[in-house]
Structures are given as structure tokens and as C-alpha cells.
């Protein structure tokens, strides 16, 4: 976080580049929300860097009037890690997609999260490869019929939240492109969290995968399917909060009627040290076609890789003194020729 100087507006985070997503793309809404949030929290354009891979979503940095790198496919977390290590004074954001971040880039994402590098990683999940015109992705539901899978996809989708929790990411959340208020809160949390924040954003690709998130976006459905996680609150949902989440004896979670749940209803606590409970919650939905938790699954403070790396350098300087090149070369077995 950078200190707030003169109050900035959304415009100060908007670049002069014409936005080139398809009309109706969910990316527009996310862009607007991020731009407003940064102004609101008092981030500074010069201290903010957006690093992306390749994909429709990865065009994002061009539209931000901040520093940015539109890198190569799947590698954004690696670039961001290097920058975060080198520059503790910056807010480093990673923009990735379900293909960029989970297919080719899955390993870098996983390692950045487990290292808990000081990054905010936003994964735009549209359950499709948009930029390459519509192949199924690692988050597409089983049986998805797209260009490369005319008879239906065969691999079980990845649940990005489960994956992140599996490697103990310290801030794990999920939101929806067009739910500005909810998305803002979740992103604010990510911004304020020190260490890796991971936010999965359901994003509609109206060209190649329209309506993938109808169940939790459309009026009439979303009331029944959005399980909103609120810290300290019992996890209930439905128009009248008539359904509740309870833990079974074996640790798994299930959905029952709120009265049946009684005081067994799980009270949401993102600060639990162990990711187990959050993981159990993430299992409630594989794809967002039924009741699906959104919000902050996990938010815990853990040592941050780049902070610790810099402290080791400080420690070394304390212990050995600031390095002296001449002394370094003149170490070991030396002899003089006269």
C-alpha cells in the first residue's frame, strides 16, 4: 500500500488506449471496478504495476494508466515475483485467465501462492479460451462442447479456489464481474492483504461462452444459488436465508434447511489458520451451476516471501557488514608476485 497524497479519481487510472474487448464482455465491468477501487483506496498510479499473461483478460494492463507488462502466456506470476522481490514499495497486481493461469501457467500460480509473495492475483474465469476463439479450458464443465471438443470435454474441471487452498494461499476469494459492490469489497481485501491474494472472478464471455454463470448472476436464480460468505456470520442463503451449510462428522460440508441446521450451521471465519474448513466450503460447488459460495474464503497472516528475503539481506549486512568488493576478491588463498 502507498500513502495517500492528493485524492485521485478513476480517470487517473484510465489510460488513453481504446478498450478493445467485445461489446458486452465481462472484462469491462471488472476494469471499471478496479479503476474506481484504486482511486478510492488511495493507490498511486506510479506505484502500481499490472502484470498479465496472454488472453483477452490479459489485455487489461493496457487500459490502466499505471505501470504494466503484457507478458507471455502463463508467466505473469513469475515476472511479478521478481518485481515484488526487487521493489517492496510497489503494489503488484497479476491479471490472468483460466487458461493463462490454470492451464499453461498453473505451476507458476501455485508456487507464487505457496511462497506467499506480496501480489494480488486476479483470475478472470470465463471457463473458455477467449482470445484463441473458443476452446474449452481447465475450468470448463465436464462435457463442454467447444471447438476442440465437438463430442464434449473429458477432463474434470479445476476448482481454482480448492487449488489455491490446497497450496495454502493466504488470501482466497471469489466474486462476479458485474457485482460491483461485492467485487469491490473482495478486491479491497486483496489490496489490503500482505502476501499473495488470489481472487477468482466469474467473467462472462458473451461471444464464446455466454451465460456460463447465469445460475449465480441472473435475477431469479442468483437469490437461490449465491452463498455469500461473511466473516463472523452463519453461512445461510436463499431468498429468506432458508438454507444453511453444516459440517458433517467426517469434516465435509453439506446444505440443509436452516431450521434443520439449528446451531450446527457453520459460522464463517476466514481467519482460521488451517485451510481445511475453507477447502470444505469450496467443495460445495465444482462449477457455479448450483449453490456456490462467493466472498472471502480465507484471509490469514503468514510470513511473506519477499519480505523475508529482504530481511535475510539486512541480516547478512548486519552479521558480515556491507559487502566490500575488494575484500571479496582478496579472500581465500591469495599470494603476491613481486
Amino acid at each position: 500500500m502507498t500513502t495517500n497524497e492528493t485524492k485521485l479519481t478513476k480517470k487517473d487510472f484510465t489510460s488513453d488506449r481504446e478498450v478493445r474487448w467485445c461489446p458486452g464482455c465481462g472484462d469491462y465491468a471488472i476494469l471499471a471496478t478496479v479503476q474506481s477501487l484504486l482511486a478510492e483506496v488511495g493507490a498511486r498510479p506510479e506505484s502500481t504495476v499490472f502484470i498479465s499473461g496472454i488472453g483477452c483478460s490479459s489485455r487489461f494492463p493496457y487500459y490502466m494508466d499505471t505501470y504494466g507488462i503484457h507478458s507471455i502466456h502463463g508467466r505473469a506470476p513469475a515476472l511479478a515475483t521478481g518485481l515484488a522481490i526487487a521493489r517492496p514499495d510497489l503494489d503488484v497486481w497479476v491479471i490472468t485467465g483460466d487458461g493463462d493461469g490454470l492451464s499453461i501457467g498453473g505451476n507458476h500460480l501455485m508456487h507464487a501462492l505457496r511462497r506467499n509473495v506480496n501480489l494480488n492475483i486476479l483470475l478472470f474465469n470465463n471457463e473458455i479460451y477467449g482470445l484463441t476463439k473458443g476452446q474449452y479450458s481447465p475450468t470448463s464443465p465436464l462435457g463442454s462442447i467447444h471447438k476442440s471438443t465437438p463430442m464434449g470435454s473429458l477432463d474434470r474441471p479445476i476448482n481454482p479456489v480448492s487449488l489455491a487452498l490446497g497450496v495454502e494461499a493466504t488470501y482466497v476469494a471469489r466474486s462476479i464481474d458485474t457485482d460491483r459492490k461485492h467485487l469491490t469489497e473482495v478486491l479491497r481485501g486483496a489490496y489490503e492483504h500482505r502476501g499473495s491474494s488470489f481472487v477468482e472472478i466469474y467473467q462472462n464471455c458473451n461471444i464464446f461462452n455466454d451465460g456460463a454463470f447465469a445460475a449465480i448472476k441472473e435475477p431469479g436464480q442468483k437469490e437461490h444459488n449465491q452463498i455469500r460468505l461473511n466473516a463472523g456470520q452463519p453461512i445461510t442463503f436463499g431468498p429468506e436465508g432458508e438454507r444453511a451449510v453444516v459440517a458433517e462428522a467426517d469434516g465435509s460440508m453439506s446444505i440443509v434447511s436452516t431450521e434443520e441446521a439449528g446451531d450446527r450451521v457453520v459460522i464463517h471465519d476466514p481467519a482460521r489458520e488451517e485451510p481445511t474448513t475453507a477447502f470444505a466450503l469450496s467443495r460445495l460447488a465444482l462449477n457455479p451451476t448450483g449453490p456456490t459460495p462467493i466472498g472471502i474464503f480465507r484471509d490469514v497472516a503468514r510470513p511473506v516471501y519477499d519480505d523475508d528475503l529482504r530481511s535475510q539481506i539486512e541480516q547478512a549486512r548486519k552479521d558480515q557488514g556491507e559487502g566490500e568488493l575488494a575484500a571479496l576478491l582478496d579472500s581465500g588463498n591469495v599470494w603476491d608476485v613481486l
Binding site: T48, A86, E322, V334, D336
Partner: protein, 629 residues
């Protein structure tokens, strides 16, 4: 063995080559290292060649398990670890089996007879003991019971229980060292104190090693097994302070020097791989220089992190070997396209694929030059000796920073692990890299905006504006961009122009290089030897040999492989014959022929070993004056 009493007499030599060979467990590398230091202290010029088996320990006593260390020392300045050894120390049959062939005819063989058991002989593939029968008649054989000598010398401490038999036996490498030290009149005091400090924690072990060392020396002195001892007088080295240094260490120090001389923090992102890993290990120890080392999850992440760090204003470096470099090629293209300064080190090893990880080769040159998609030219710089890795690292950093480009720095397995005496540079004399760049802090367009691709006329480098600088916010990436603004551009003419510009930038580097240095003592040479990288030593030695035979031969060693020095075409054109020896199948040769249309003759060797000077001299002789000419 002479059975007449006679005081051993001391013979003066100009140079000598000694090879210690034994099982991986016999501590030959250590014995060699110590002998090297003693020799350095004696003021000789020297070069070493360690040779150990592939990563995993092979079973004891087998040929695969043999580890060796060769030292060449002289009162002249020398350039190679030597061809055929004068002395071979063979600690077991496998060592003898593997290395006897290399020994000079009539050379000295010292064998540890205790290790010549039937079991060991069989493991080494000997039907019968080579110590009996004719095998060794052409050599001066010295049968020394090194192991029992050692144990006898340590009887007391063993009885006292200060150390057990196994530990005592492990000292036998010091016994061998003591004996060879005596043979070559090498003082062992320094090694004694070194042993004491190394084994501080366990004085018993320290004492045992010292005792063994002395036992070896005394064995030489007291037994009359050795008719002669030898002495190699100090070489006339340029005055100054010296140390022995391996290529990997020199490279690491060179990077730190570049950081100090540029005032930029060093960021080193890497993934372990033989033979490059030691650079990471070396730098990880130098955190007090503000060095950040990042062991990434793979080579792609490593170079990715380095691109990020370069964007943030670090002196950013990654290193690997061939297979890992292959994985970095896509990201190298991004670095080239975003015109960020970084250094990509390739410590080349035997290829292709996983190849021969612990052997040396120069076969990644074309990969460095052309191993990227699209027209993606980058500068390529090569180190030519272990100590030269220090200067090469500084030069790579200078080019990267001056021209804002990724630079490929080529070393190899031979340079990485071999050592040579290095005269310590005066820090102030090292290039001042602060002059190579200035961070852009002010808009560069009339309208008060910043154009990240508006170039410097002289260097064609784009401005380097760091995040954190208000008013300079900008975005870069891998898509083709409009020159100047850096905005994405699909315009055909712009793409043509940018492509030409990216080539022009590299050419510009060449135009600003100092003239080529050609070695031609007589000035009458009409045969030229062109080399690059670690072949310099052998080529230098070969030319020296040829000149002593009255052949006028010139040589030039290329530091820069991309761009090729603008004067090179002219230079090659001036000679009757041009020969290019390489430890590959003719990679530089292809480049030279294409660029100059001169019929450059390739001489190629890919045996995992550096050239032998004599072999090379013969080859050059053949091209220059033999039928092949």
C-alpha cells in the same frame, strides 16, 4: 627401483603435469586442490582440469566411479591443463585402468598397492594384476602401500580412540599429496594450517590428516624408492596479488562487480542445473552485497522473475545450461521485445538433450544466436578462460545496460570447474557502469507525455523508466509496438521498420567496439586461427608450439559472437588459410562463412573434453601447410 644407496638428486624442470586419480570416495579433488594452492604459492603459472563422474555416485572401485584432477604448472605462462601427464597417481586399479593410456611414455606411475585386491582388479576389468606382467614396463612404476602407510602412521591415535580406522583410512589422500609434494619440492606448511582450520571442529581429524601428509613426505624422503625429485621454478608472472579461481566463481564475482560498479542491486533468478548451479550457491553467500537470489520453480519462472526485476531497476541475471536455456527461449524473446537489460548465462555442457551433464562442449552457440521465434537478435558474449569469466560478466552487463537488451553470456563446463591463477584487478580500473545508463524521470515528448520507445540516437537504446516514477507510467509487452509510443501496432510498415531497428541496435553495438586484437608476433602470418570461448587456452598453446617450430600463425579469439565485429570480414580476407577449431560440429564456422564468404576451415571435436594443444597444433599444421591446405 634402484638398490644402490644414492641420495636422490633434484632435477630442474620448466613445467610438469600431474594427475591424481582414484575412487570418488578417495578425495582426489581435495588433494588436487591443495597441490594447486601449494603450486600457486610456489609462484608457478598453472591450469587445472578436474574430471568427476556424472552426478550420482557410482559404486566404489568401478571405472564409472573414478574421479581425477590434473594440474599443469610451469615457470612459463601456460594456457591449458596439459595434455599427457608426467606423473599419474592411481589410488586403485580402476584409476590406473582409466588413466594409464593418457600418461606420457616413460612417465611416472604411483599406485596404491593396498587397493590392488582381486575384487578391485576385477571391478576395474583386469584379468590379472597390471603390477605383475608387462603392462607397466614402459613406465616408471612406484608401488606404494598408501593405505597401510597411512594406517601405520595413525596407529597411536587409533589406539587412543581419537579416530576409527575408517576415518584414518580417509586420510590416505593426504599421504599421497605429501609424497607428490616431496617429489616436486612443494612446501606443505600451508596445507597443514589449512587442514587445521578446515577441521577446527574435530582436531583429531585435523591432526590425523597432517600426520598422513607428513608421512607421505617422509616416505619419499626416507625410502630410496625415488631416484629423483623435481623442481619447477617460479614463473615470471606480472607482479600483483593472485588467487586461484574457477570459472563459476569468477562469473559470480564478475556479476557482483557489475552490481557494485553500476550501483544497481543484483537480482539473480535461477533454477539449479549442472554445471551452472555453483553460481547460484556462490551468490547466495553474498547477500551482504545486497544480492537477491531466487531459486525459481523452473527455468521459465527464473527468467520471468529476472524480467520483472529488470523492469524494477535491478541488474537482472539468470543462468542455466543448454536444456534450461531451451526453456527460456520464449521469454528471451519477450525480454528482447520489451528491450529490458538482463544477462542470460549459459554454462554449456555436453548435448544434445540431457546429453553429458558433467562434460564440456560449445554446442549451444547457434541456440544462443538463433534459438528464438521470429527475428529476435540479441548480443552474445563468450568467456575464454576461468578467470576471464569475471571480465566477460562485466562486459555482458555493460552491453545489457548500455543498449537495454538481454545478453547471452556463454561459459562451459570446462571453464566452470577449472581453476587458474588470477591477478586481482584494481577495483577502480574496472569499467564504470554508472555511465551506461540513466533512469528516465522526465517526459520525453513535447506534449509532456512519455514515449517508452523513443530511442537514444547514439545507442538506439530506449529509455528505462522505473515504476515508482510519477508521470512516467507506461505499458510494455510482447506484441509488435509502434516505435516511439510503444503502443500495440499491427501496421505493416511499422513492423518492417521495427524489425530492421532491432537488428540495427545489435549492429550498433559492434560499431562501438574497440578494434579486434590479433596475436601475430612475427607479423608475417598468413594462417589465422579463429576461436571463441574456452578454446583460447588450447589455441594459444597450439600457436605457441607451431611458432617454436617456425610456423608463422596468427590467432584471434572472439569475445563477441553477436554482433560479429565489423572488421572481421576484412581480417579473415587477409589470410591464406583460416582455421576455426570448436568443441561442436562447426557452429561459428557456419556464421563466419555466411557473413564473410571466406572458406573458413572447421576443426571440430565433441568428446566432452577440451582440445589437447598438441592435437590442435597438428590439425592447424595440416590445414595451413599440409596436404589439406
Amino acid at each position: 627401483m634402484s638398490d644402490t644407496v644414492s641420495t636422490t638428486e633434484k632435477i630442474q624442470l620448466s613445467s610438469a603435469v600431474v594427475r591424481f586419480a582414484g575412487d570418488s570416495g578417495d578425495g582426489m579433488q581435495l588433494a588436487g586442490d591443495r597441490f594447486t594452492t601449494q603450486t600457486a604459492f610456489a609462484g608457478n603459472d598453472l591450469a587445472t582440469l578436474p574430471d568427476f563422474p556424472a552426478e550420482i555416485r557410482a559404486p566404489a572401485g568401478t571405472l564409472a566411479g573414478v574421479s581425477s584432477f590434473q594440474l599443469h604448472f610451469s615457470d612459463q605462462d601456460i594456457h591449458t591443463p596439459g595434455d599427457a601427464p608426467d606423473v599419474l597417481v592411481a589410488m586403485n586399479p580402476a584409476a590406473l585402468q582409466k588413466h594409464l593410456g593418457a600418461l606420457k611414455p616413460g612417465g611416472i606411475v604411483i599406485v596404491n598397492t593396498d587397493a590392488f585386491t582381486d575384487r578391485n582388479l576385477q571391478k576395474a576389468g583386469y584379468e590379472s594384476s597390471p603390477l605383475e606382467g608387462g603392462t607397466l614396463t614402459d613406465y616408471q612404476l612406484h608401488e606404494v602401500p598408501v593405505t597401510s602407510l597411512t594406517l601405520r602412521a595413525l596407529e597411536e591415535p587409533i589406539e587412543r580412540g581419537d579416530l576409527n580406522k575408517k576415518e584414518a583410512e580417509r586420510c590416505k589422500n593426504m599421504t599421497a599429496l605429501g609424497l607428490v609434494s616431496w617429489m616436486y619440492s612443494r612446501p606443505v606448511e600451508d596445507t597443514e594450517s589449512w587442514l587445521k582450520s578446515k577441521f577446527q571442529s574435530s582436531p583429531a581429524i585435523a591432526d590425523a590428516n597432517v600426520t598422513a601428509l607428513r608421512a607421505g613426505w617422509n616416505y619419499g624422503e626416507t625410502t630410496e624408492a625415488f631416484a629423483f625429485t623435481y623442481e619447477v621454478k617460479a614463473a615470471k608472472l606480472t607482479p600483483g596479488r593472485y588467487r586461484n579461481i574457477t570459472g563459476n566463481q569468477a562469473l559470480a564475482y564478475g556479476l557482483v562487480a557489475a552490481s557494485v560498479r553500476s550501483g544497481l542491486p543484483l537480482f539473480y533468478g535461477s533454477y539449479p542445473i549442472t554445471p551452472a548451479s555453483d553460481i547460484l550457491h556462490e551468490l547466495a553467500k553474498l547477500k551482504n552485497f545486497g544480492v537477491s537470489t531466487f531459486q525459481a520453480e523452473d527455468e521459465i519462472a527464473a527468467i520471468g522473475s529476472v524480467i520483472g526485476a529488470a523492469f524494477g531497476g535491478s541488474l537482472a541475471v539468470t543462468a542455466s545450461s543448454g536444456p534450461g536455456i531451451a526453456l527460456k527461449t520464449e521469454a528471451m524473446g519477450l525480454a528482447m521485445m520489451t528491450e529490458l537489460p538482463l544477462v542470460v548465462v549459459n554454462v554449456q555442457r555436453g548435448g544434445p538433450s540431457t546429453g553429458l551433464p558433467t562434460k564440456t562442449e560449445q554446442s549451444d552457440l547457434l541456440q544462443a544466436l538463433f534459438g528464438r521465434n521470429g527475428e529476435a537478435p540479441i548480443p552474445v558474449v563468450a568467456a575464454s578462460s576461468p578467470a576471464d569469466c569475471f571480465d566477460a560478466a562485466l562486459e555482458a552487463a555493460r552491453i545489457a545496460l548500455t543498449y537495454r537488451t538481454p545478453v547471452a553470456l556463454l561459459s562451459d563446463g570446462y571453464l566452470a570447474n577449472s581453476a587458474e591463477p588470477w591477478r586481482l584487478p584494481v577495483i577502480e580500473d574496472l569499467p564504470d557502469l554508472t555511465e551506461t545508463f540513466a533512469f528516465a524521470t522526465e517526459p520525453n515528448l513535447e506534449d509532456g507525455t512519455f514515449a517508452p520507445y523513443k530511442r537514444d540516437e547514439e545507442t538506439l537504446a530506449r529509455p528505462w523508466a522505473l515504476p515508482g516514477t510519477a508521470g512516467m507510467e507506461h505499458r510494455i509487452g510482447g506484441l509488435e509496438k509502434d516505435d516511439g509510443s510503444g503502443n500495440i501496432s499491427y501496421d505493416p510498415t511499422n513492423h518492417q521498420a521495427m524489425t530492421e531497428l532491432r537488428h540495427a541496435r545489435i549492429a550498433r553495438i559492434g560499431e562501438q567496439l574497440p578494434p579486434l586484437e590479433v596475436e601475430d608476433p612475427s607479423g608475417a602470418a598468413d594462417v589465422l586461427v579463429v576461436g571463441w570461448g574456452s578454446t583460447e587456452g588450447p589455441i594459444q598453446a597450439a600457436c605457441h608450439e607451431l611458432r617454436t617450430q617456425g610456423r608463422d600463425v596468427a590467432r584471434v579469439q572472439l569475445r563477441h559472437l553477436s554482433p560479429i565485429h565489423p572488421d572481421l570480414a576484412d581480417l579473415l580476407g587477409r589470410y591464406r588459410v583460416v582455421v576455426c577449431p570448436e568443441n561442436n560440429m562447426g557452429q561459428l564456422v557456419m556464421l563466419l562463412r555466411a557473413k564473410t564468404l571466406v572458406d573458413v576451415k572447421p576443426y571440430n571435436r565433441v568428446s566432452g573434453q577440451p582440445f589437447a594443444a598438441s592435437e590442435l597444433a597438428e590439425a592447424i599444421e595440416g590445414f595451413g601447410w599440409g596436404e589439406q591446405a
